[in-house]
């Protein structure tokens, strides 16, 4: 029995602190991905929180025929998709850049390079967030999480060919959005 399976068994036996260990283990990884999926820290926090709560409530239904994290991901993606339908019919790069810009940047303290780096980061985040959802999720799973095509297909319940196609189109679109930024980097 692996660590996750052990913690799941303990949770089902009534030791909720075991589930707390699962939360600790995966919270930042899932949050980091969801920030890029939903395009805002606040929404990502809500999605991750909701995913863990749903996972806790539905833990009996987890068949363990995939990794716990994969199962958790599916729940989170469903929550993110639901949130997206409710809140964000369309998002422009500028809007998303503004939403990421809410984190205070200490303009007085850092050298110009640091500010440039911060600006570049916001630009990249905004470009990701402005991608159509079906492209964004595939791209984030591949580039941020390092999942292979087959794993992405399993998580998103898509054919592998669709994953490959969407990923390529996501890259082309992102390249277009970040042309200037990439040119600066070169």
């Amino acid at each position: 029995m692996n660590d996750d399976a052990q913690l799941i068994a303990e949770t089902l036996a009534g030791r909720s602190t075991a589930f707390g260990q699962l939360v600790e283990k995966y919270q930042d990884r899932l949050y980091n991905t969801m920030v890029h999926i939903v395009g805002s820290r606040d929404d990502a926090r809500d999605v991750v929180q909701d995913a863990f709560v749903q996972a806790f409530l539905k833990l009996e239904t987890f068949q363990q025929n995939c990794a716990f994290y994969t199962w958790l991901y599916r729940i989170a993606f469903n929550a993110a998709a639901s949130l997206s339908r409710r809140r964000r019919p369309a998002v422009s790069v500028e809007e998303v850049r503004d939403s990421f810009g809410r984190e205070p940047v200490d303009k007085g303290a850092g050298p110009p390079e640091q500010m440039e780096e911060e600006e570049r980061r916001r630009h990249v985040q905004a470009a990701i967030a402005a991608l159509p959802e079906e492209f964004r999720t595939v791209l984030v799973l591949r580039e941020m999480e390092g999942y292979c095509y087959e794993e992405i297909a399993e998580i998103l319940e898509l054919p592998v060919g669709t994953v490959r196609s969407r990923l390529h189109r996501a890259r082309l679109q992102l390249r277009q959005s970040l042309k200037q930024v990439l040119a600066i980097e070169d």
Partner: protein, 313 residues
């Protein structure tokens, strides 16, 4: 073939997802076509840009927040949800009820649910049985210990144990009979007896107060008293169970007063029975307040929440 940049195999090449013969095909393309080479270089730059983004992290108390919310929802969903997401699973209700009433479940709302269930069972006995044996119930500890066992695990014929409801009925009983109020209270408010004052203001007499639902239940029968106090049990992190009998008007007024003091009482969450069934002859029903004592720091740092789904920090 389309323009080289349209070739999906470039992405798959970058990701190492090609079969050997496809890989050779892409390498031939790269050797022959500058646009293909540029596209691949751009994709690599994109990857570097994406992977250089700083790791986003959640606040340190996120785990505790999740657990508390999950516990709230665990109480709420099985009793208020209709044919919800948990129902389709074979045996799901039974196992969920098992988690709720498991005696060593340490998280407080689940214990509260167990307490509510046990109170229901106690109050649900025939009126004459209660009236005949108010002062001499079976040995309280044994009785409580027995009632804490998951109903499904009890042999139904065992002496002293009434036929156990099945798990669905368990949820229904909790839903129909007991109002559970989950409430965070600051240690200072607990020490100041603010909660007792609220009860007194509305002529609500505590029947039992304890850190231990079993202990509270053992003292339930006919022990209502204005002198029962919360403060001796007020230890941060430990739940306090207070059972009262209240009319809907009394409860509404008491809740309004609790909510009017957000600095003392936070997260006042009411698990209201969905299908209101007539309660005792006086129109009263059992209300279990589950008070969760929080430190002043955490009370100050987290926003007040009046619904089962607290706002994100």
């Amino acid at each position: 073939m389309n323009r080289p940049c349209e070739n999906e195999m470039l992405s798959a090449y970058l990701d190492g997802e090609l079969a050997p013969h496809e890989r050779q095909e892409v390498e031939r393309l790269l050797a022959a076509d500058a646009e293909a080479r540029q596209t691949l270089a751009d994709f690599r730059a994109l990857r570097a840009a994406l992977q250089s983004l700083p790791l986003e992290r959640l606040e340190p108390d996120f785990r505790d927040r999740v657990l508390r919310l999950a516990e709230h929802r665990m109480l709420a969903e099985p009793v208020v949800a209709g044919p919800g997401e948990l129902r389709p699973v074979a045996g799901g209700w039974k196992r969920l009820a098992g988690r709720l009433v498991r005696p060593r479940n340490l998280f407080w709302p689940a214990v509260a649910a167990a307490a509510a269930l046990m109170i229901v069972l106690w109050h649900g006995r025939p009126a004459e049985e209660v009236s005949q044996k108010p002062a001499a119930p079976p040995p309280p500890d044994r009785q409580v210990a027995e009632r804490q066992e998951p109903p499904a695990s009890r042999p139904e014929s065992e002496e002293g144990w009434r036929p156990s409801p099945d798990a669905g009925q368990v949820a229904e009983v909790v839903a129909d009979d007991v109002v559970v109020v989950l409430c965070e209270v600051t240690a200072e408010a607990a020490r100041s007896r603010t909660f007792e004052q609220v009860l007194a203001n509305h002529q609500l007499r505590p029947q039992a107060v304890s850190n231990d639902p079993g202990g509270a239940l053992a003292r339930l029968a006919g022990r209502a008293s204005d002198r029962i106090q919360v403060s001796p049990q007020a230890v941060a992190g430990k739940p306090i169970f207070v059972s009262v009998e209240a009319t809907p008007e009394q409860l509404e007024a008491a809740l309004a007063q609790l909510r009017a003091q957000p600095k003392a009482f936070r997260s006042v969450v009411v698990q209201t029975p969905k299908a209101a069934r007539p309660s005792s002859p006086g129109g009263k029903r059992v209300v279990v307040f589950v008070l969760h004592v929080v430190s002043e720091e955490s009370a100050l740092s987290s926003p007040p929440a009046a619904s089962p789904k607290p706002a994100a920090p």
